[in-house]
């Protein structure tokens, strides 16, 4: 017990910043949802209208939750709970892997295992650590909901549900760590389980049956296979029924028991799934810096593209719906216009607002491509590459091309998903084909800003290599804050103008202003050229 307490204390100490960010971020999301929804949908009739729309529209159900009454708190729970549960699941699953498989992989676990600590002590410590973190998270969510003006009992029930879902995925993460050989593999399994739970729940809700009045629904059976679905069936603020959470706890107990049995039987560092065997020889195309970048980057690029496609789907799927909603709710249209100032139609504005987020994802994928370049340099693999006939400039050029390709693929995924959703709407008679063209235009419009991120970060990599990763993410975060949410938050125009995203053109027929786009393309070209020229004179720095 003493060793568990020692390990626990060291784990909490190591995690204090990471967990504080997860917990505060999740609580802020809850607070923001509670106060914003109260401000925007204060009117019961309005909420009823939106919920009726949702019941008719599987895309909304998939991305939100299960409507269960038109009261304001019930509406908040419908809007935000599944996302809070998703975050709790991810936080807990990452925590579990971080303190078990990652430790074994790095070899640190052997230090611990060589002490008199019991073989299961690190796992028990991780379990206790995670449960404590989930309890704090639940309390923070409950407090945030109360602070946002929600009733006390329902807020506590919501917090309990978030914590219970977190604990369930904590043990799923611990189990994944028993199976996978690497922390990356275990995290993939854990994240996969969380996402599968979210989708199963979404599917079950989308296939549910509307109840009397059309503002509530009963989910179908797939929701009952998902811990997030169980949490949702607490129906805080209306039923406050905690019984479904027993399923979460039962799953947690079953997984923990399995983990402890497995842990007691296997060697330190071993895994149930064998380490994946790699190729004995490289594929024929692996013969350039670009090909290597692609080989390393494509798995994450798939995730970036999936993100782009999700927002694209949302843009296309909602274009028809929002036109109807905006007719009855002028505030909605006004809110959208703060994100994208434009004289275009409400649909064009909505699609542009959604694609602004696809653009952010594209810029993020390019940022990651440049950061990989720096990782190669810092990790020492660049030395192997640059001792061959690969020159520094071509090395950088390969990754610039990779970044540009990433941007194009993310935007194309968004455009394809959006156009697909529009055509599905056209077939169902709820949308018009011209919105598909709007989607393509909106996707293309994101290209200049994303290219600016790629080229400017490449230049920073040449000039200030040590700061590449920090500057890359900080610039992206600042650009999103000022350019995408600046209008909503009342940031002055001159500050918003600092963000490339502010200058992204918005399709508005003949009146579309392409000036900003032109300047951004020029800026990107200049930065990329400067990076390539200066790279000729740059030493490799570890």
């Amino acid at each position: 017990m003493l060793t568990v307490r020692t390990l626990l204390r060291s784990a909490i100490r190591r995690d204090r910043v990471t967990l504080a960010i997860w917990i505060l971020g999740t609580a802020l999301l809850a607070l923001f949802a509670a106060s914003a929804v109260g401000g925007t949908y204060g009117d019961e009739a309005e909420r009823t209208g939106i919920l009726r729309l949702a019941v008719d529209n599987p895309a909304i159900l998939l991305l939100r939750g299960l409507p269960h009454g038109t009261s304001l708190p019930a509406f908040v729970f419908f809007q935000i709970f599944t996302w809070l549960a998703l975050l709790a699941g991810l936080m807990s699953s990452f925590l579990a892997v971080r303190h078990t498989r990652a430790e074994e992989e790095s070899g640190r676990a052997e230090f611990i295992a060589a002490t008199p600590a019991a073989r299961t002590a690190p796992t028990v410590a991780a379990l206790v650590h995670g449960v404590l973190a989930d309890l704090v998270l639940g309390a923070a969510v409950a407090a945030a909901l109360v602070a946002g003006g929600m009733p006390g009992p329902g807020s506590v029930a919501s917090g309990c549900a978030v914590a219970a879902v977190g604990v369930a995925f904590l043990t799923v993460g611990l189990l994944a760590a028993q199976f996978a050989r690497t922390s990356r593999g275990a995290n993939t399994l854990g994240v996969g389980a969380v996402c599968a739970a979210f989708l199963l729940r979404g599917l079950g809700d989308a296939l549910g049956t509307p109840e009397a009045g059309g503002a509530a629904m009963a989910s179908s059976w797939p929701s009952w296979l998902s811990p997030i679905g169980w949490g949702q069936h607490v129906f805080a603020f209306t039923d406050d029924d905690l019984r479904p959470l027993l399923l979460c706890l039962a799953l947690a107990v079953a997984c923990s028991a399995a983990v402890l049995v497995l842990q007691a039987r296997r060697d330190s560092g071993a895994s149930l799934l064998p380490a994946r065997v790699g190729r004995a020889a490289a594929r024929p195309w692996l013969r350039s810096s670009f090909a290597l970048g692609w080989r390393l980057h494509w798995p994450t690029l798939v995730a970036w593209c999936a993100g782009g496609a999700a927002f694209g789907l949302f843009a296309g799927g909602l274009s028809g719906v929002v036109v109807q909603a905006a007719e009855t709710d002028p505030d909605l249209a006004a809110n959208l216009r703060t994100i994208v100032p434009s004289g275009g139609s409400v649909t064009q504005v909505l699609i542009a607002a959604m694609f602004a987020l696809v653009g952010v994802i594209a810029a993020g994928s390019a940022t990651q491509a440049v950061i990989r370049l720096r990782q190669e340099e810092a990790h020492g693999t660049a030395e192997l590459l640059l001792s061959t006939r690969l020159g520094r400039v071509r090395w950088l050029g390969g990754y610039l091309a990779l970044g540009a390709l990433s941007i194009a693929l993310v935007l194309a995924s968004g455009a394809a998903a959006s156009a697909g959703a529009v055509f599905a709407g056209v077939l169902a008679g709820t949308d018009e084909p011209r919105h598909a063209a709007d989607s393509l235009a909106a996707a293309a419009a994101q290209l200049p800003a994303a290219l600016v991120y790629l080229a400017v970060l490449a230049l920073l990599f040449v000039l200030l290599p040590g700061a590449t990763a920090a500057l890359g993410w900080a610039l992206l975060g600042a650009g999103v804050f000022l350019g995408v949410f600046g209008g909503l938050l009342g940031i002055p125009q001159w500050a918003r103008d600092l963000s490339p995203f502010t200058h992204t053109p918005v399709a508005a027929g003949a009146g579309t202003d392409l000036g900003g786009a032109g300047w951004m393309v020029l800026l990107a070209a200049a930065a990329a050229s400067a990076a390539l020229v200066l790279m000729r004179r740059r030493e490799l720095r570890g």
Binding site: A280, A282, L286, R287, S288, L296, T381, L384
Partner: protein, 322 residues
Amino acid sequence: MDDAHTHDTVVEAAGLEKRFGRATALAGLDLQVRCGEVHGFLGPNGAGKSTTIRVLLGLARASAGSVTVFGRDPWRDAVALHARIASVPGDVSLWPNLSGGEAIDLIGRLRGGARGGGLGGGGPRGGDATGYGARRARLIETFQFDPTKKGRSYSKGNRQKVALIAAFATPADLYILDEPTSGLDPIMEAVFDQEIRRVAGEGATVLLSSHILSEVEQLCDRVSIIRAGRTVETGTLAELRHLTRTEVSFADPGEDGATDARLASITDAHDLRRAGGRIRFTVDSDAVSRLLPALADLEVRGLVVAPPSLEELFLRHYGEGS
């Protein structure tokens, strides 16, 4: 630099300096590696061996002094020179999710298989595909290397093997190897020695850095010893041996047999001392033969004449200034 000189000397560095901010890594280093020789590049950790090698590979630029490889500036002509150079870095890192085999092929292809500086296409799949495949297979076999594991799961020695196999699988005119045997077990070190002898036999030049003398003693024609960024000794092993003293010792016959006065008559002896029933002293290595009559006079028993040890010279240089 005249033409003959250029042809003789593959690596030529004079007064080489490299500063990182206020830290000085190289403070006027001289290095000459002649064509076709195996050159040992010795020095304690932190002496500047890896920095020198990074300058020779054009990964870092000299702050002052001159340096050429095959008569060209390694910083300006890095890519063209790399066509003729195979190298192994001091600390091999691999891509965590690339297998060892993929890493070997990638490096081999980027290096190109063609010998002698041809900058055109080619590469392991081009002109020299069969040669590359055969060498790769043989090296994987002799180094007993499993190419299917992912980079993150290799031990230090196995990461080293990836770099070694990649280096030896493509022909090169110059091999620059930075502490290539660190992490290898003695059997693998023997395999490595064999490969060095093979490429040297084919006429290639090898620059081999190490901080352990005995590791390179067997392989090298000439060595340079560096300390604190400067060359302190350079020459053939025979030349260096002249700089060291031979140790002589014999059984102490007691005060009667060898009085202090008689011992003092051994004119070439240095550091004479009596300890543990033996008498020990050192002599300059070229004075050993002059010593023999005096030893015969003493009718010594249990005579041991220890050959000059480079280790001694080496330790003397290492110790200085540390």
